[in-house]
Amino acid sequence: MTEALPRRRFLIGAAAGTAAVTTVGAFAAPDIALAAPEAAAPEAKPETTPTGQVATAPDYVPEPMRILTATEAAFITAAADAIIPADDLSPSGSECGVVTYIDGQLAGAYGAGARMYRAGPFSTPQQGAGEQSPLSPLEFIRAGISAANTWVKGKYGKELDGLEPAQVAEALKAMDGGKAEFAAIGSKPFFNALLQLVMEGYFSDPMYGGNRNMASWRMIGYPGLPATYADKIETYRGKRYEVEPQSIADFS
C-alpha cells in the first residue's frame, strides 16, 4: 500500500501536465471518475484545425483500475506514452485512455483467456506455430511487466515509470527487438502483446475506455459511424471526406 501511493500520484501528475485536471489525492480518483462520466463529452467538442487535427486534449481523468496493481498501471502508462507520445497529432496513449482500456480488457473475458485453446501439454513455441504460453493474457502481461521491470531496474537503476522519456523509449526498443533479457518470458513476445493492446486501446471504439474523444480517429481522418457511403463514394472519389467522427455512444 505504501508503495502504491506515490505511483498513483505519478499517474495523476503525468495527466495534470497536459490536461486540465486538478491534482487530487490518489484515493479520490474514483470519485472524480464517477463525477466526470463520458457523457459530459459532447459539450467539449474539440475544435478541429483545417486539417482535422485535434487542437485540444481530451479531459483526462485517471480512472480507478479494476485489476492492474499500481505498479502495473504505472508501467503500462509509461509504455503507452512512449508508444503513443503526446504531440500535435494527439494526446498521449494514457491521456487517450489506453491504460483504462487495457485494465478493462485484462479484467474481463479476454484477460481470463476466453477464446483460447488452453489445454496442455505445453512446449516452447516453434517457429510458425504461434504463441504457446500456458498463461492467460492477464497473467502473461503481469509476468511480463514483472520481468521487464526487473530488467529495466538492472540496467537503469529504476523501474520503467521512473525513467526519462528517452530512456523509456530506449528500453522498449530493446524489448521490441528481443534484446532485453527477461527471465522466462521473451521480451519480444511480451512487447508484441503489449503493443497490440496499446494499439487496440488507441484505435477502438471509445466505449471500451480508450480512444477518448476519438482522438486517434481524428488524427487519421476515420469518420467512425454510421459509415453509410453509397451516396458518397462517387462524389468524394479523390476528395477528402472530412466530418466530425461519431462513435457507438453517439447512436445509442
Binding site: 494527439s90 477464446r115 483460447m116 506455430a129 523509449a169 484505435f203 471504439d205 463514394i233 479523390g238 477528402r240
Partner: protein, 589 residues
Amino acid sequence: MAKKLNEVDVVLVGMGWTGSIMARELSKAGLNVVALERGPNRIPGEDFTLPNIRDELRFSVRQELMQDPAQETVTFRHATDKSALPMRRFGSFLPGDGVGGMGTHWNAQTYRFLPSDHTLRTDLTKRYGKKKIPDDMLIADWGVTYDELEVHYDRFEKLCGLSGKAGNLRGEIQKGGNPFEGWRSAEYPNKPLKPSMAGVMFEKAATELGYSPFPAPAGNMSASYVNPEGVRLGACQYCGHCERFGCEANAKSSPNTTLLPVLVKEPKVEIRDRCYASRLVYDKAGKKVTAVVYVDLRTGEEYEQPAGMVFLSAWVFGNTQMLLHSGIGQPYDPKTGKGVVGRNYCHQIQSAVGVFFEDKELNPFMAAGSLGMVIDDFNGENFDHKDVDFLGGGYIALNSTNGRPILNRPVPPGTPRWGSEWKEATAKWYRRAASMNCQGSNYASRGNYLDLDPTYKDILGRPLVRMTYNFTDNDRKMSAFLTEKGAGIAKAMGATHISANPRKGDFDVVPYQSSHNTGGTPMGTDPKTSVVNRYLQHWDAHNLFVLGASVFPQNAGYNPTGAVGALTYWVADAVVNKYLKNPNHLIKA
C-alpha cells in the same frame, strides 16, 4: 449412452452455405431434414444491428462470430519430422461457427473457377507434357467439368444476387468483363458496384499495361435484389464492415440473408443449433452410415440421430475430422502415398502489394467486402507456363474492403511500429494507402495433409485435426512471379511507395492469410486417390455426401465459394434426380 431418436430422411452436419443450400433443395424434394449446427442461431435483425455491428474490436479483433478455439482448434507442424502444436488462437484462417457459418462473416468475393481448374491434370499434361508436373504434386481432375457445372454456378450467382460484369456470354467476349472466364449462360444478376478511387486508378494502370481489368464479382448488392427464393436483399452502403461482421443492411449475400428466411418457415427443416456432432455410425459391410451422434451443448446430453442420408457440411477440418474419427475411408499416409482421407490439403498462396500515394485522397473507409478491380491475366492456364519454372497463378486485385483502423492502417516500408515517427506516418498515409491482393493458387503436394493429432483433444474428447503443411518451391516461385506483376501495376499507378511482399520462407499460423483452406476429402475419378466421386458421394458409403472446399483436389487462384456453391447445387441435383430413384453408388468403384 446416447439417447436414440427417431429416424429422419436427412441429417446435415453444419449449417453454413453448403448446409443451407442442401437443406433447401432436399426439403423442396419432400425430404425431412435435420441440420445440426454446433454454434448459435444468428438472426440478422437481432444480432447484426447498428450501432454495435460497427464494433471492430468485438467482431474483427476478438473474432466473436468465429469458431471458439477453446472448443476445437487444429494442431500444426511444418513436416512429419516435427511434433505439432495447437493453434491456441486462430490467425492465418478463421473458421466459422453458428447458423450461416463463415458465410455470415465473409467478404463475398464470388468467383467461378476457370474451366481448366476443373480438369487440371489433363489440361496441364496436354499443354506441357507429363514431365512438367512434379512427381510430388498431387493435382487432379475434379471428375466433373466446367460445362457440367455452368448451370449450377449460375444458380448460386442468382441466389446471391452477385454484382458484376460478364466477360464471356455463351462464347462471346464482352467488353469490361473478364475475357478469360469460362462461358456463362447469363449476365450477372446485378450491375457492378461503384468503384473506389483506388479501384479506378488500378483499372487505368492495368489497361495501360495491356491487361484486362474487370469489376470483382461481388456478393454486395449494387442495388436491392429479390432472389429466386423470393428473399429481398438490401442495397450495399459501402460501410466497409463485411469480412468478420454480419451485415445490418441485409446487403451481403449470406445463408442468413438469402436462404434462412425461407428455411426457418419450412416445416420439413429442423435446425438444431448448439448441437455438436461427434461422429457418424458406420455400417462398413453395408457401405452406408446409419446415424449421427451429437451432443446438445445446452444440456450436455448425447443423442444418436438415425438418418437415411448424411451430408457433411462442416467445412474442411470438420469434414475431415468426422471421417477420420468415424473410421470411414483409409487415412492418407504421406510416406507410402496410400490412403485418401486427409489428402490434398491446400490453402491459398496470397500475397500483398501495398501502394501509397503522396497526393491522393482514397477514403479507405468507403468500402465493401468485394469492392475491387481485378485482372485475371496471370491466373491458372490464362498464361503460358512453358517458359516459367512453376505451375499455377492467381488473380491480382485492388480490393477496397475496409479502412477499419485497429487492423488496417498501413505505413510505408521502413516506418517504425510505434513512437512519434510512426504516428506521423499513420496520420499521413492512412487515407492515402491501398493494398493489392495476389490470390495465388496452391497445388496439392505429397507432404501437405491432415490427420488426427495423437495428443490434443477438443471439448468432446475427440482428437484434434493435425495439419502438416508448408509452402512448396512451386508456391514460392508462383508467388514471386505474381507479386512482381502486381508491383508492376503499382508502378504504373504512380505509387509514391510500394511494398511488395511475396510469400517466402515457411507457412506461419499467426498472420491472417485467407480462410480459403481446401482439401482433406478430395473428389475424383479414382477411389485410390479420392474420398468422394464426382457427385461428392463417399466411395465407401453411398448415403454419405461431403460438401464444401474439402473436396477440392487443389486450390485455384480464386476465392473458393463460387465453386463451392456450384458444386453443392450439382450434388443436390444428382441426389434428387438420380440417387433418390436408386439409392446406391452413383459411380461403380
